[in-house]
């Protein structure tokens, strides 16, 4: 149905959804415009998703820490760089009022070497160790299985590690640092841009496997002290008390502060953010050009109809509203299929690249805002035609 037909109907009805009818008038054109706008939206969504995925991958481990406060060396500049502090600091921390539990987390990013069970290649892996009775991570699978880490040389591995490591192979006996260890469980987290895979173990196993270490677990320096406070205590007050009680060469962060600390490091030193924002901007510009073309062509084609409406006495404001509505509707017509296909794209790329790509409410809102923005902006640019439509000149 064209605008002219819509006008004919107007005589008998009070309200005509003119913008919607304009949009649906030409099915071919509708498909074409939805495809054009949809791909621009998909481009923005994919780029925005990569940006999120990159940060989420880098922060996944930090977010899994099961504590209210974290003690770490003051000279530590990022989560994933070994810089431990003496074990006895934890005893000092335990005595601070309001604290329910202080548990050590041992970590190594350079010294644990995993032999791929299928080949004979050896890869560096990220290793964490803790008291099996107090697994300091939130991962439910790890919590459920951690008692088995008490078995000598038992380890729990990341099923979502890079496939080349063979961590998901189900092989029970693996060589780690030249010693045969037993895989007693697994969890699913995924690699980040620094480590290809993660291995969890008891502190006793860690002390045995750590190259060059002769003493037992009790003497090992600690990477993080994971602190739980008593229910009802104020986190920042306990934090202050801990800072006062501990030597100045360690710092105490709340968990959100630690996440922010790591995020700042990643944002400062990696080029991932700007790269993906650039892609998003390009998607926006392309989308604007496509929707401008669609709206401009449509307006040109229906100029006589608009002029007729004007001649009948409709005000320019009404016509402008119709054009804007139509732009918003075509934005939605492109957005919905793009959003749906993006779910598939995220799933596929996430599975292959082992990136945490998830459609979230905020991603949906941001991309929807960008889509409406690009379509409305191009509508405003194209709208001068309607305003200029002169009923006397058209015919």
């Amino acid at each position: 149905m064209t605008a002219a037909q819509a006008i004919a109907r107007f005589a008998g009805t009070r309200f005509v959804p003119l913008a919607l009818r304009n949009l649906l008038a030409n099915k071919r054109r509708l498909i074409r415009s939805s495809a054009g706008i949809g791909f621009a939206v998909l481009l923005m969504l994919v780029q925005l998703g990569f940006e999120r995925g990159f940060f989420d991958a880098s922060l996944a481990m930090v977010r899994q820490l099961d504590g209210d406060l974290v003690i770490m060396n003051a000279s530590k500049y990022r989560f994933g760089s070994g810089d431990p502090f003496p074990h006895f600091y934890l005893a000092t921390a335990t005595d601070v009022a309001g604290i329910a539990d202080v548990s050590p987390l041992y970590a190594s990013w350079q010294d644990f070497f995993w032999r791929d069970p299928a080949g004979d290649k050896v890869y560096v892996v990220q290793a964490f160790a803790f008291d099996p009775d107090r697994p300091v991570f939130l991962l439910p699978e790890l919590k459920a299985q951690s008692a088995r880490l008490k078995e000598e040389d038992g380890v729990i591995v990341d099923r979502r590690a890079r496939p080349i490591l063979g961590m998901a192979s189900g092989t029970a006996e693996i060589e780690l640092n030249g010693r045969t260890v037993h895989v007693v469980g697994s969890f699913a987290l995924g690699p980040d841009f620094m480590s290809d895979g993660t291995v969890m173990m008891s502190q006793a196993t860690f002390a045995r496997l750590l190259p060059g270490n002769r003493g037992g677990a009790a003497a090992l320096p600690v990477e993080f002290g994971i602190v739980k406070i008593r229910p009802g205590e104020d986190v920042s007050r306990v934090q202050q008390a801990l800072v006062l009680a501990l030597p100045a060469d360690v710092r105490v962060l709340t968990k959100p502060q630690l996440v922010a600390f790591e995020r700042d490091f990643q944002a400062d030193l990696s080029s991932a953010g700007p790269i993906f924002w650039l892609g998003t901007v390009v998607g926006f510009v392309v989308g604007m050009l496509i929707s401008y073309q669609i709206i401009y062509t449509d307006l040109s084609d229906q100029l006589p109809q608009y002029a007729t409406l004007k001649g009948m006495g409709y005000e320019t404001a009404y016509l402008v509203r119709v054009v804007i509505e139509q732009a918003a509707l075509s934005a939605l017509a492109g957005y919905v299929p793009a959003w749906l296909s993006c779910l598939v794209v995220y799933r596929m790329i996430g599975a292959v690249a082992l990136l945490p790509l998830h459609m979230t409410l905020s991603l949906t809102l941001i991309s929807l805002g960008l889509t409406l923005g690009m379509c409305l902006l191009s509508a405003i640019l194209a709208i001068r035609r309607v305003i200029a439509a002169d009923p006397a000149e058209i015919f």
Partner: protein, 376 residues
Amino acid sequence: MPLQLAWRILADQKGRSALATGGVFVAILLIFVELGFFVAVPQGGMLIYDHLRFDLLVSSSKYVFQSQSWQFPRARLEAAMTVPEVAQASPIYLGGGKWQDVSGGLKLDIAVIGLDPRAGIFAVPDIERQGALLEPSDTVLVDSTTRPLFGSLAAGRVVNIAGRRTTIGGQYKLGTGFLGLGVALASEANFFRMFPGRPPDAVNLGLVMLRPGADPDRAAQALRAVLPADTRVFTRSELVAHEVAYWTIRTATGLIFGSGLVVSFVVGIMVLFQTLATQITRQLPQFATLKAIGYSDRYLEAVVLFEALLIMAVAFLPALVAAFAIYALVRSETLLPLALSVPQLGAVFAITLVMAAASAFLSLGGLRRADPAEIF
């Protein structure tokens, strides 16, 4: 001529054609950017190798990539010297230590490259010129792109590296590649002072230079015959293939920028298709008239194809210029060696031609509706 007609159609509606060219320009630009990153990431991984002088690289058989190179006995390099084609075999040592200001502060990870300053290993003017600065004990040269987090890199500053007081002898301009946030060069003696726990006979990489005229592939085979199974020998081209595959396939970067490339390809087709389809619809009477006069379908199809190619050709050059501007910006901001070689530029041009053909093909459906009898 279909080409002439295509040109006149485009020239007749300048505003519309300019708009289409703009859309295609952005799509091509996006392809340039995605392809640039797709290529730049492995190039970042190759940066150090690209500036080392060698014909063959000897590594441990467990070699994964540059930063996980493992070690092999230094005696293998002496064995390599027995191959007649080999002129020189020099060791390279790689170590990671913590960098900290002498007054305290953050302990930052720095990669240290140990080498014999007199072996002429680096084809980097700053390093060749300042080789003598590596001779005094506990002195290093630092890469000038070591991140600002590390503080001043001025010659004379004393810092702790791996717990040892070390003097910065000078800076060199190369780039840290993907070795880390900071890189320092040290002589062999200074390297082992920093890492006293390391067995002195364990080498990370062996750089083999061949006598003039020797064939690298043949020499590599001779070397493999001499060396035991604990080592691996790469020719330069084998090494490039290995490192590029590592960065493209094993890390997620290949997939990330590859998928961006595919999406921008489709977006480009969409923009152009949109333009062509609109134009065909608007000029259906004219096309129908041409048909009635006796022009064949094929002729009209050729006109549409030429329209697509013309828009692409006009959009390509400004996109190329803009892409180089973005490359320069990214190079200065992120230290990624963003650049395209001539064959890669050719590939982008070929991709745009395919895009033009695909969008023209998609819009031909509209052309078939041009029925002289129905139009009037």
